[in-house]
């Protein structure tokens, strides 16, 4: 009796209570906005702030002896486009980055694929750790090790000398810089690819095989298209990192080898030309941004169809 009485009493209350208005929805989300606020403010202040400041600097005028004079001029950008030296630096940076990224992809994909498909769970963890282990050591320290290996009297020449080959000039060459960059960037590529290949159902490969596809065809028609998002992510990551590489080009490239990041540093810290250094930094950023965005759009267009 009591239960029916109470249900009779609550029923009208339930039916008369109006459906939740959208305003209430907004009010319920308010705490969420509140929680994300600190991080949002931090990102705005800590990341966008310096960027805005640097952009403002790039519009100032450099007067030797006075460092920076407040102005609103595009002279610094004009200088970049007028001076072929800096364009060549950008060109070098671009092709070194493109080549390093490509090599990372070619070398990283088989490793990532092997990790996902062949390694047992136990070994997968260990091998992944081994792959990211170099990242635990400072970039400059690792690069210093490459100097020891690639030097004229270094390990590499000692080894090929031992088998009777004449020594090779590697140190302070673009080749050495590419080797150094690949060694720095490869872990990023492998880890990115590994996580994406992990998401590709192994049955798809079996299915393709049973339909008559060879390993190479399976790779080309099934694995690569499905790994495209990972290839894009890994490629962008490696490309951006090498466009901004500093330690490797300085230490392995030597004094007469120029890439963008060291040149920016040289302008800001050595020539004390902050406005031009800032302008160079923004040129570098703009070029990187345009290239990666273009790549992103091109690839997105191909896989958006089925990936959503």
């Amino acid at each position: 009796m009591t239960s029916s009485a109470s249900s009779g009493a609550t029923a009208p209350v339930a039916t008369t209570s109006p459906p939740a208005p959208s305003g209430r929805e907004g009010r319920r989300l308010a705490p969420a906005y509140g929680l994300t606020a600190p991080a949002t403010i931090f990102v705005l202040v800590a990341l966008m702030g310096p960027l805005a400041l640097m952009f403002r600097y790039s519009l100032n005028r450099f007067v030797p002896g006075q460092m920076m004079v407040e102005a609103l001029t595009l002279d610094n950008y004009a200088r970049f486009f007028a001076d072929s030296f800096y364009q060549e630096v950008l060109g070098t940076t671009l092709w070194i980055s493109a080549l390093s990224t490509l090599l990372c992809l070619v070398a990283g994909f088989p490793v990532a694929y092997f990790l996902v498909r062949q390694a047992s769970d136990k070994w997968k963890g260990r091998l992944l750790l081994l792959i990211v282990l170099p990242l635990l050591m400072g970039n400059a320290v690792r690069t210093a090790a490459w100097m020891v290996i690639l030097g004229d009297k270094g390990l590499f020449n000692a080894v090929i000398g031992a088998v009777g080959l004449s020594p090779v000039k590697l140190m302070y060459t673009p080749t050495a810089v590419v080797i150094g960059l690949v060694s720095v960037l490869l872990p990023f590529m492998i880890v990115t690819l590994q996580s994406v290949i992990e998401g590709i159902d192994a049955n798809l490969e079996s299915a393709a095989q049973s339909l008559g596809a060879s390993h190479l065809t399976v790779l080309w028609r099934v694995v690569l298209p499905l790994a495209l998002p990972g290839i894009l992510a890994g490629t962008m990551l490696c490309f951006i990192l090498s466009m901004n590489a500093y330690a490797t080009p300085v230490l392995i490239g030597g004094p007469s080898f120029h890439m963008m990041a060291p040149t920016v540093y040289q302008q800001v810290a050595k020539a004390m030309n902050w406005p031009f250094g800032a302008a160079l930094a923004f040129v570098l950023m703009a070029v990187t941004l345009v290239l990666t965005t273009t790549a992103n759009v091109l690839v997105q267009r191909r896989y958006r169809r089925w990936s959503e």
Partner: protein, 351 residues
């Protein structure tokens, strides 16, 4: 179309033997179901036939040709996966065309065959869709079309129905069987569901711990399970352990002595009686009959399952039609009954 012969195949992983000397011949055009619980080696066996898992020992022959060591892409077998494994980045038509492209057929011929294959599973109107836009049942039909369009010598199906809901499962079961008979294709069908195996297969092979436990026609397995495991797996819920007490007499562990169909067995035995064969009232003269009490009644739509217990603690499940389909009035828990069965209704199996 070809027969498939497995000659004592073995798959060992380090210390673990997944498949232990399995010998099996699947006749031309025959549909054999490999049935068993997970870990019994049925899927491993199927994948060895498909070439995805290397065989440790033994040989696999198809149409007399030894392809034990051939890679999957040289075997000309159609494989259906539990999760369908449709290529997500290709349309339905591209999925079906894939195997034909691998065979380097001319474009026009591929288009024609794809159309026929999709017509066969009634999905031509979805040819330009992507797999994710299809329902589970439609995806399974595409997978089937893709496997069959290459005109394989053998069709291998790995739990093809287990991701579908009950209604679709029934439809697909019929569809697979119809297609298989139309094309007369030799088929191995892996499942853990006895009902599926019984309704689809010409022959059921029950596997356990990497070995074949029992094989035969669906009726053989269902009606004459050879072991306690087989009986349990084929859905016999009453398995009464005990021992022979003279010719045609069996003493249950709970103490009662009942008459049984004499079988050439000895030692530890179990008496297997299907719940449908137990009668709860009106015991006939020649029946085994025990006084019991209804403990629990479970209404299941067409039938009602009663758990009854004798004074000695023996619990049995009896099944009767429910009143909805003209069965007798339901019994209530606590009601005394006489549970009885004809001696022929029970099968003695090794315990």
């Amino acid at each position: 179309m070809s027969d498939v012969v497995l000659q004592s195949i073995v798959k060992r992983y380090d210390a673990m033997t997944a498949v232990d000397h399995v010998s099996l011949t699947i006749g031309e055009g025959e549909l054999v179901a490999l049935l068993g619980p997970s870990g019994c080696g049925k899927t491993t066996t199927l994948r060895m036939v498909g070439g995805f898992i290397p065989v440790t020992e033994g040989r696999i022959l198809v149409g007399g040709r030894d392809l034990t060591h051939l890679p999957p892409n040289k075997r000309n077998m159609g494989f259906g996966f539990q999760n369908y494994a449709l290529f997500p980045h290709m349309t339905i038509a591209e999925n079906v065309a894939f195997g034909l492209e691998m065979r380097k057929l001319p474009k026009a011929e591929i288009a024609a065959k794809v159309k026929t294959a999709l017509d066969r599973v009634k999905l031509s109107h979805l040819a330009e869709r992507l797999p994710k836009q299809l329902s589970g049942g439609q995806q399974q039909r595409v997978a089937l079309a893709r496997a069959l369009v290459i005109e394989p010598d053998v069709l291998l199906l790995d739990e093809p129905l287990s991701n579908l809901d009950a209604q679709l499962r029934h439809e697909m079961k019929t569809e697979i069987r119809t297609l298989q008979q139309q094309l007369g294709i030799t088929t191995i069908f892996v499942t853990h569901d006895q009902d599926e195996a019984l309704s689809v297969a010409d022959r059921v092979v029950l596997m356990r711990n990497g070995r074949i436990e029992q094989q035969g026609s669906p009726d053989d397995l269902f009606g004459r399970p050879a072991s306690r495991f087989a009986a349990e797996f084929m859905g016999v819920t009453n398995l009464l352990s005990g021992e022979l007490a003279g010719v045609g007499r069996f003493r249950l562990a709970s103490g009662e002595e009942v008459r049984v169909d004499p079988a050439g067995l000895s030692g530890e035995l179990s008496l297997a009686v299907r719940p449908e064969r137990l009668v709860l009232d009106g015991a006939e003269e020649d029946h085994n009959a025990l006084p019991a009490v209804v403990e629990l009644a479970t209404y299941r739509g067409l039938v009602i399952d009663y758990r009854v217990a004798t004074a000695s603690g023996l619990a049995l499940i009896a099944r009767r039609p429910s009143p909805a389909v003209g069965g007798p009035a339901p019994l209530k828990p606590g009601q005394p009954v006489r549970v009885s069965w004809h001696p022929n209704a029970g099968t003695l199996v090794a315990a």
